[in-house]
């Protein structure tokens, strides 16, 4: 599969105007963000310069940006796969916590395995736990017709509490901090650039994006998932098993979300830490929506948000603006992409003038 095919895939499935809408949504959200900074009484120019420097100013800053991009690619892909099946997975946050914990637990409990096996087994342990946690709301939706949004939200709270219990009681390492023991070296994702946070998780993320593309557009199963997402009634009359597809799409989504936690734990912290995620699962929603639920779009958007979040940390230190402003920008982006008519009407007004 070549990059050309992927890009071809995008231009076939989405019109060029749709990509304009994503770009204009970002621009509009950044303008409103700048306005907010101005109203707060700071200089938007300074804030954005500091952010840009924080995100790309040096090799280590770029490495940090890329490192932040990794979990967002996974959660973005997770939300995108569910979305293609017409489902809204807001549970990526809980799924990634379970994935992180159980990959670490697998690495600790299976440390007797030969070195070359330990890492893949640990990753698999994480993926399976995420698939279960994501599959449950899918199963509920398929069997009982419960709304997956509310169910996944509730399961976020429950999942985060479960891992918090496990790391505070049975698997707590010695000391004050709620964290597990450090995992064996063989279970570490190797660093791509030494002395930075950037791990081989980036490669796993890109492989996952390719796999999602292949699954959704090159296999019968993927075709079924998209058919259910586009029109369940037509899909059903075409002989597609809706219940099976809903459950499986959510399980795959959960497995992808889990990888966000797995790569953070095995690649950055080398252990599980209570409450480690700053909301990767929720940012993943913005990543998927802005990336138009396409793997390439997800990678590009994850990079943008990775840069924004890394840059915002520096902005938080240097200026008086909170890094939470990035969440405002993400929320705005979602609203603009959700309502493409806004952008269209602005563009139309421009054209007619």
């Amino acid at each position: 599969m070549k990059l050309k095919d992927i890009i071809g895939g995008i231009s076939r499935s989405e019109s060029v105007k749709d990509i304009y809408i994503s770009l204009f949504s970002i621009l509009l959200a950044l303008i409103i963000g700048a306005l907010l900074i101005f109203l707060i009484g700071s200089s938007p120019l300074q804030a954005f310069t500091v952010m840009l420097d924080g995100a790309f100013g040096s090799i280590s800053n770029i490495a940090n940006t890329l490192s932040k991009t990794i979990p967002l690619i996974f959660t973005g892909l997770a939300v995108a796969v569910a979305f293609r099946c017409g489902l809204f997975n807001i549970g990526a946050e809980g799924q990634l916590y379970l994935g992180a914990f159980f990959s670490v637990l697998t690495a600790l409990k299976f440390s007797f395995l030969p070195a070359f096996l330990l890492l893949p087994v640990a990753i698999l342990g994480g993926i399976i736990s995420g698939m279960i946690w994501g599959g449950i709301p899918g199963f509920f939706k398929a069997q009982f017709g419960t709304h997956e949004v509310v169910v996944t939200v509730m399961m976020n709270y429950i999942g985060i509490n479960i891992t918090s219990y496990l790391v505070n009681y049975p698997f707590k390492a010695e000391g004050w901090v709620a964290q597990t023991d450090i995992i064996p070296n063989a279970a570490n994702l190797p660093k791509l650039i030494p002395k930075t946070q950037l791990s081989a998780g980036l490669i796993v993320a890109i492989i996952a994006a390719l796999a999602v593309y292949f699954l959704l557009w090159k296999t019968d199963f993927g075709y079924e998932i998209r058919a259910v997402g586009e029109n369940p009634t037509t899909a059903e009359s075409g002989g597609i098993n809706i219940k099976k597809n809903i459950s499986l799409a959510m399980a795959i989504s959960g497995g992808l979300a889990a990888l966000a936690g797995v790569t953070q734990s095995l690649g950055v912290y080398e252990r599980f830490i209570d409450g480690f995620s700053p909301g990767y699962g929720f940012t993943g929603i913005a990543v998927a929506v802005l990336g138009r639920n396409h793997p390439l779009g997800v990678i590009l958007t994850a990079l943008l948000f990775g840069a924004l979040e890394t840059g915002a940390l520096k902005m938080d230190r240097v200026t008086e603006i909170s890094n939470d402003l990035v969440i405002v920008i993400q929320g705005l982006v979602i609203l603009f992409v959700a309502a493409p008519e806004i952008i269209r009407s602005i563009l139309k007004r421009r054209e007619s003038q």
Partner: protein, 305 residues
């Protein structure tokens, strides 16, 4: 017997108190969804309301003005949801989630701007409880009139009034018609769009008021993400309650009972994480149980008629 220490009479007033924010938002959800608009954004509307209430009380020194301010900002956020989903035909679920993320980011950013602190605001004047003379002397139901928040009574009025309007008036008949058969409603001369705007904006107002209860009655400050999923619980209560204000109220009581019982479980060597999870587990169980039994407005989420 330890069980009697966990389940006791004190739970009843506490359950009612904790039900107020959920029930207010749940009825907001009922109104919005009866008009055909899914409202996932209740969480964000509640959070902005909680923030607005504290900011209003901080600015004016009057908690009542804070409550009004909460209603106002809830109305504003509700209007955003209304304009995006009705005028611009945006995906209702995506818009709701966008509103929740926006509310989370905006309120957290503004804490730092206004109070210069991370994660929580400063203390403000909160809304004090009232006791009603004479009525508070009645045995058995005396607790209902002793040390209650005025907003609790307001919530009870909202429950009854919204039920009455929805099921006993022409206004409610029209609204139910819109939720089930919008096209037919439009043909028969009902201004469907106007109903939808009013309902979604009202749902924002009610959720905002629920938020005010969290920040100005149960607390006297705003804490980052202090709604902690109550907006989603409200949505679940609305579903479990069968899109009926009375049902929503009863469902809210079930959820708040799970929250109330937590307080009595402290000190029994039960891990805090389990106690914390209880309301969410219960919400889940209730949703799965309700899934097949309740009937959503038929045209919910499909407004492009």
């Amino acid at each position: 017997m330890e069980i009697f220490n966990i389940i006791n009479f004190d739970l009843i007033p506490l359950t009612l108190r904790l039900a107020v924010p959920i029930a207010l938002a749940a009825i907001g959800g009922t109104l919005s969804e009866r008009s055909g608009i899914i409202n996932i954004g209740l969480e964000g509307m509640m959070l902005t309301g909680a923030f607005g209430a504290v900011y209003g009380s901080f600015l004016t020194g009057s908690p009542w003005l804070g409550v009004m301010f909460a209603c106002f900002v809830g109305l504003i956020v509700g209007s955003i949801h209304a304009v995006l989903t009705i005028k611009y035909k945006a995906n209702q679920v995506v818009t709701g989630v966008g509103i929740n993320i926006l509310a989370m980011g905006f309120t957290t950013t503004m804490i730092k701007v206004i109070w210069g602190k991370e994660g929580m605001s400063g203390e403000v004047k909160n809304l004090s409880d009232i006791s009603i003379p004479i009525l508070k002397e009645i045995p058995i139901i005396d607790w209902l009139f002793t040390d209650q928040s005025p907003l609790t009574y307001f919530m009870l009025i909202v429950v009854i009034l919204s039920w009455y309007i929805l099921f006993k008036t022409n206004l409610g008949l029209n609204l139910r018609a819109i939720g089930d058969h919008p096209r037919a409603a439009r043909i028969s001369g009902i201004n469907v769009t106007k109903y939808r705007y009013i309902c979604v904006m009202l749902s924002g107002l009610l959720a905002g008021l629920g938020g005010a209860f969290l920040s100005l009655v149960q607390n006297s400050l705003f804490v980052q993400n202090m709604t902690a999923g109550r907006g989603y619980m409200a949505l679940a209560a609305n579903i479990f309650g069968g899109w009926n204000p009375l049902g929503s109220f009863v469902a809210s009581l079930i959820f708040s009972f799970a929250q109330a019982i937590r307080f009595n479980m402290i000190g029994y060597n039960i891990p805090d994480q389990f106690i914390q999870s209880l309301p969410y587990i219960l919400t889940l169980a209730v949703l799965v149980g309700a899934g097949r039994k309740t009937r959503a407005p038929e045209a919910l989420g499909e407004i492009n008629e």
